[in-house]
């Protein structure tokens, strides 16, 4: 065979090359033919869990659904995006016309995903599903995910925050057992910080590790939830007015700043801390953290302390919803109703504290956290779950999150003027809040 390419005009070469590119690109788009013909569809759910045991249960539930609906759904793929870019990855997929059918969403982005119309209303499907019992869903757990009669997601993981205590470190520092403080009615953030500071001074460890590895990169997720016990809020209930400069918020953040830089009760910015390896006296976290603690030191799991505004339990939530502009919203909604039915919610409770009141009992949650005692599960998880609030979100949180992080960065120096930093931050985000 002889190569007969000839040197023609640049335009001819460009046209030929563009044609070749087009052929290559369009060759990749033939997967939809079967679905267009009306056959069963394949659903895809994005998750941020890479845990094989989670996926095994998801797949078992999905296989059971496919067995019951072979003409509608041929399979369900669980697409794990675990590298910390979850929301960006979903956005990119939606932008690229490759929307998942079902997505997991954290509570921080609930307002945004609900108000932007990304998620479909699944309330009618839940209402029609036999034996679904939507009335069993705890109202406070559903608060973020509903708007009037519409339901935009099922909060499959509704897990209260508590305080893990390294009792060995606290005792060695000559500090009281936190359970004694609870019994004496002295379980407050002030008292906890005092115990933590004394343990830091005596043992040379860190004080209170927060719920994420780098709380200063995610202040709205990791620091501001503590402020709910001060009634500190980043913005008003309707989301239109900045409240970083409210007396409550300034008071909370000045308290936090002092605890970081005066007595080291909380780790400073940039300080690497690991409670699980015995390097910190306390850690704010959820029950799933108990699985990694082992028995190398004595520990306890306690409810969140009181603040100036009283007892304010906080839950971290993850919801699963149907993408409204996905290719198969009806099939996805039907699968979601099956996935979150009372029977399957009980199976998911092996890993995720459920929003169903009928499942919020120590026996069910023992499977999710076998190392926690029934008392810990009842007092720290169940009692709080039924009364807890979620972190404060906003429909335009994505637009403001980086500005908030950058603005609050100015606060994380020992001599920072907290009030001035917060006034400057409000000036930066108010235009977005007012939109």
């Amino acid at each position: 065979m002889r190569l007969t390419l000839r040197s023609r005009s640049p335009r001819a070469v460009a046209v030929a090359t563009a044609g070749a590119v087009a052929v290559v690109l369009t060759a990749c788009s033939g997967d939809d033919a079967e679905q267009a013909a009306g056959g069963p569809v394949e659903l895809r759910m994005t998750t941020w869990s890479g845990n094989d045991a989670h996926h095994a249960i998801f797949q078992e539930i999905a296989d059971a659904y496919v067995d019951q609906h072979p003409d509608e759904v041929s399979g369900v793929e669980f697409d794990a995006i675990t590298d910390g870019t979850y929301v960006s990855a979903i956005t990119t997929q939606i932008a690229g016309g490759d929307s998942p059918d079902l997505i997991w969403v954290t509570e921080s982005y609930a307002d945004e995903f609900v108000s932007s119309g990304v998620l479909a209303d699944v309330a009618p499907v839940f209402a029609d599903a036999e034996g679904y019992d939507a009335g069993d869903l705890a109202p406070n757990a559903m608060d973020l995910w509903t708007d009037g009669d519409a339901t935009y997601a099922y909060p499959f993981s509704t897990s209260p925050f508590g305080i893990y205590a390294n009792l060995d470190l606290v005792t060695a520092a000559g500090q009281p057992n936190p359970r004694d403080l609870i019994a004496a009615g002295e379980w407050t953030w002030d008292r906890l910080a005092g115990v933590a500071a004394a343990t830091v001074a005596a043992q040379g460890v860190a004080g209170i590790q927060l719920s994420v590895d780098d709380p200063y990169a995610l202040p709205n997720d990791a620091i501001m939830p503590i402020g709910l016990a001060w009634d500190a809020r980043p913005w008003s209930e309707d989301g239109t007015t900045c409240q970083y400069t409210s007396p409550e918020t300034v008071g909370f953040l000045e308290w936090y700043h002092e605890r970081v830089y005066q007595d080291r009760a909380f780790p400073a910015v940039g300080e690497a801390v690991d409670f699980a390896s015995g390097q910190a006296a306390f850690r704010m976290g959820q029950l799933s953290l108990s699985a990694g603690l082992g028995d190398t030191f004595a520990w306890d799991f306690l409810p969140l302390p009181d603040g100036p505004a009283g007892t304010v339990p906080v839950i971290g939530q993850a919801g699963v919803g149907v993408v409204a502009n996905g290719e198969n919203p009806e099939a996805a909604a039907d699968f979601l109703a099956f996935f979150t039915s009372p029977e399957n919610a009980a199976r998911l409770a092996e890993f995720f504290p459920p929003p169903r009141e009928s499942l919020l009992d120590a026996a069910t949650l023992q499977a999710a956290a076998p190392s926690l005692t029934p008392d810990q599960l009842q007092g720290t998880v169940i009692d709080q779950a039924l009364a807890a609030r979620t972190k404060v979100g906003h429909p335009r949180l994505s637009q403001m999150a980086d500005t908030i992080r950058a603005g609050l960065d100015a606060m994380w120096t020992p001599d920072a003027d907290v009030e001035a930093v917060l006034a400057d931050l409000c000036a930066q985000i108010e235009p977005t809040l007012a939109e």
Partner: protein, 316 residues
């Protein structure tokens, strides 16, 4: 310099003879066809993965695009008008230029220094070369993660400093140090590649030219400055351009180590683009930032390229 010119001329003549010998009898048309066949994959790649996406970026920059809410609206030049008055973007561009300038100075001078040190015929020298080159083949994410622990406030670097009575700064969280720290980490990651390029260039310097300079009475420094440096200026140009482009595009160490902070002190333009597109869902404006990054990088590359006639050996 006459010696250099003679040697170059001899090299050029040798190359010319070789070319005639290898391709003299093949028809020109066949040559063109073979040539096109060889470049076709690259042309398809450049068009499909370079020009076409760039066309899309410009198209997107003319729209207001938020994929989450399904908005894609023609806005003409609004994004560029907004760009012109956006202090965050210009601050970010200054940060990028500071990052690039500092990285180029440190990287190129250290790479040249290491290349000179390792351009010796000593036993075991290959081991040292491999040692300095090894960071290049390490995963960038793994590299910066490990450095992240080392430069943490209570990390290894400050631990070592404290043993000699120095209270080290909070390297990544102090606005004064964060950018410098990221630059240094990035220099250590990439210096090995430039070192190898310089090493190859140094070994290509004809020893007889250095010998001639010595016979003429030039000392080591004078020989290095007047013979070695001029002969490796083509490599210096190459290294400068490639290092500059890589620095303008830096993303991973910023994402992993600082997330653009503290404040916006390490928010380089590519990271701002990422934040705008993938965190704020403002894809149209992010595309406009991308166009700005392209224009600035292209301009800096052209400046370097055009300046070559004044300082690069054998460029006319």
């Amino acid at each position: 310099m006459s010696g250099i010119d003679t040697a170059t001329a001899a090299t050029t003549r040798t190359g010319a003879v070789g070319s005639r010998r290898s391709g003299g009898r093949r028809p020109a048309r066949t040559d063109a066809a073979v040539g096109l066949a060889f470049v076709a994959p690259a042309v398809v790649g450049v068009i499909g993965l370079g020009l076409v996406p760039f066309g899309f970026v410009i198209w997107f920059a003319l729209h207001d695009w938020n994929p989450l809410i399904g908005e894609f609206t023609w806005t003409g030049l609004d994004n560029f008008t907004r760009l012109a008055g956006d202090d965050v973007v210009w601050g970010s561009l200054l940060t990028t230029l500071a990052f690039t300038g500092l990285l180029m100075v440190l990287n190129i001078s250290l790479a040249l220094f290491l290349a000179i040190l390792l351009n010796q015929r000593l036993r075991g020298i290959t081991t040292f070369r491999a040692f300095f080159f090894s960071p290049v083949v390490v995963s960038t994410v793994a590299w910066v993660l490990i450095w992240g622990y080392l430069v943490a406030d209570n990390g290894g670097i400050n631990g070592a400093l404290s043993t000699v009575g120095i209270d080290g700064p909070n390297w990544l969280r102090d606005a004064t140090w964060a950018l410098v720290t990221v630059v240094v980490i990035q220099v250590f990651k990439g210096v090995g590649m430039n070192m190898i390029l310089f090493l190859a260039a140094l070994q290509g310097v004809p020893p007889e030219l250095k010998e001639a300079a010595r016979i003429d009475g030039a000392g080591a420094w004078r020989t290095f400055r007047s013979v070695t440096i001029p002969l490796i200026t083509p490599t210096i140009l190459l290294v400068s351009i490639v290092t500059m482009i890589a620095a303008m595009d830096v993303f991973v160490p910023i994402q992993v180590l600082t997330s653009g902070g503290p404040g916006r002190s390490t928010t380089v333009i590519s990271y701002l683009l990422y934040q705008t597109a993938f965190r704020q869902n403002d894809f149209g404006y992010a595309a406009a930032i991308g166009v700005l990054l392209f224009v600035v990088t292209l301009a800096l590359t052209l400046v370097q390229w055009q300046s070559r006639r004044r300082w690069v050996h054998d460029e006319v």
